[in-house]
Structures are given as C-alpha cells and as structure tokens.
C-alpha cells in the first residue's frame, strides 16, 4: 500500500460518508454543507488522477457557485416545519431497493469489462494543460462542444431569469 492508495481510501471515505449525510440529514443547510465536503473529496480524486485543472475548477464552480446557490435557495425557501419532520417520502424503501439494484448492476458491468481493470496509468505528458486548451479550440477536436456549451449556458441563463421573473 503506497501513499496514493492511502489518500484514495481517505478521500473515498470522505466522499461516501458525506454523500450519505447529504441524502439523509434533515436540516437542508447541513445537507448542502455536506455536499461541499463531498465535492472537495472529488476534487482530491481529480488531483490523484493528475487533472489539477479540473480539481481547481471543481472548487471554483461547484463550491464557489453551485453549492452557494443551493445554500441560498434553502435560505430562501426555508420553512421551519421542514427541519423537524422526516425528509423522505413514503416510498423510500423502494428508492433504496432501486439504488441498491443500480449499484449491483453497475458493479456487474464494471466486472465484465473487456479491458483489464488492473491497468496502471501511464505517465502523464508535461503539457497536459496546454493539450486541454488545444483540444478545446481545434476544429479537429472539440471546438463545437466548446461553442455549444456557451449556447447551453445562454439558454440556461435566459430560462432561469425568465422563470425567476416576477410577473406582477
């Protein structure tokens, strides 16, 4: 067991425990804060995968914007009643069954993969960040998703602003 495996296990534990708390705690603000812990754990995984850019982006976008939006929305819609009563609906056992089934199913698929699961990552080229930039702008690669992403964001912004608009 080397250092990276220890870090992986620790961050996996952080991710899973806080994710479980996200879906179980009654106080929604706490759920949002646990979500932040999960997201931070995922950022550590990205670092282990040597995708430093994505790790930092994870913190900037998820923690800096998305999680804050969640906390904000909870503060906006908070009814005190909601913190005390159970937060799950009546068919939660079904939900548990379905998600357990999904887990088993995915695990089954993962086991049946054609390529070797024990493969070890090849050493990363020095300029992977530059490669990402090149991939995003080169017409042979992903310039279309790059531009479409901005259209998606535009649609989201217009839609969200339109919905949030007070029609009085």
């Amino acid at each position: 067991m080397d250092a990276s495996q220890v870090i992986f296990i620790l961050s996996a534990a952080l991710i899973l425990v806080s994710a479980l708390l996200v879906v179980t705690v009654r106080n929604l603000i706490h759920a949002a804060l646990w979500l932040i812990a999960t997201l931070f754990g995922v950022a550590i995984l990205y670092v282990l995968l040597e995708a430093g850019f994505l790790a930092v982006v994870q913190v900037v976008v998820y923690i800096g914007a998305i999680a804050i939006m969640f906390i904000f929305a909870v503060m906006l819609t908070r009814r005190d009643l909601l913190d005390k009563v159970p937060q799950t609906n009546e068919n939660w056992p079904v939900a548990l069954g379905v998600s357990a089934l999904a887990l088993v199913g995915i695990a089954f698929i993962v086991r049946g993969f054609v390529f070797s699961l024990d493969r070890i990552a090849a050493p990363l080229p020095e300029n992977s960040l530059q490669m990402l930039g090149d991939a995003l702008i080169s017409p042979a690669a992903y310039v279309l998703p790059f531009e479409v992403a901005s259209v998606l964001l535009l649609a989201a912004m217009i839609g969200a602003v339109y919905v949030a608009m007070n029609k009085k």
Partner: protein
C-alpha cells in the same frame, strides 16, 4: 519536490490547523459565565421579535443566478487563453481569438437579455 499537489495538500492542512490554535487557546483561558441576556441575539438592544428567518428580496437570487452562469463561462476561457499562446499552434491564433470572442458574445447576449428585461434593476 515530486508532486506540487502534495505540497498544496500539506499547506491546506496546516492552513486550517493554525487558525484553530488561537481559538482553542482562548477557550482554555477565557472566562465562561454565560447567562440568557448575554447569549440573546443582538439587535441593537431591542428585544428580538420573531425568528431570525424573515422574508427577503428574491432580487438577490437573480444576481446569484447570472453570477453562476458567468462563473462557469470563465472556466472555459482559461484553457482558451492558454491555447492562444500555444508554442506550435494547431490553429491560427487569430482564429482562436475569434472562437473565444464568439463564445463571449453569446454569453453577453444573455446579459443583455437580463438587462433589457429589467432584471438587473434593484427595485
């Protein structure tokens, strides 16, 4: 130093521990004589009415929303800015710049829409 992120991890750990130290130290030596008046919510001496949660302007929300979209946009722009300076460019720099400008203009259209609809006003 093999991996810079190892250093960052250590730094984050120490950076969180060091602010905890004075709080713990203070908790050890500071007096502790709580009473209900001392612990009541501070509202300039007037007694608190109702809960701390009060209705507030949803307008705050619209700004957070526009912020969210633009924040994600900047993430796309950082790799673009680096590609603009590529040593052996796959694409002509001017073409790269134009791609980024199209990207920005599409999003500025969203800002213009919000502006025109009067959602940026603080009423």
């Amino acid at each position: 130093m093999q991996n810079p992120w190892m250093y960052v991890g250590l730094f984050l750990l120490v950076g969180v521990v060091i602010p905890i130290a004075p709080i713990l130290f203070s908790a050890l030596i500071a007096p502790k004589k709580p009473n209900p008046i001392k612990q009541s919510t501070y509202e300039c001496g007037i007694e608190t009415v109702g809960e701390s949660w009060v209705q507030f302007k949803a307008q705050y929300y619209v700004f957070a929303l526009v912020f969210l979209v633009f924040d994600v946009e900047t993430v796309f722009l950082f790799p673009w800015a680096m590609a603009l300076n590529a040593q052996n460019p796959v694409v002509m720099p001017a073409f790269v710049a134009v791609e980024g400008i199209i990207f920005i203009l599409i999003l500025l259209a969203g800002l213009a829409f919000t502006w025109r609809k009067g959602m940026l006003e603080w009423v």
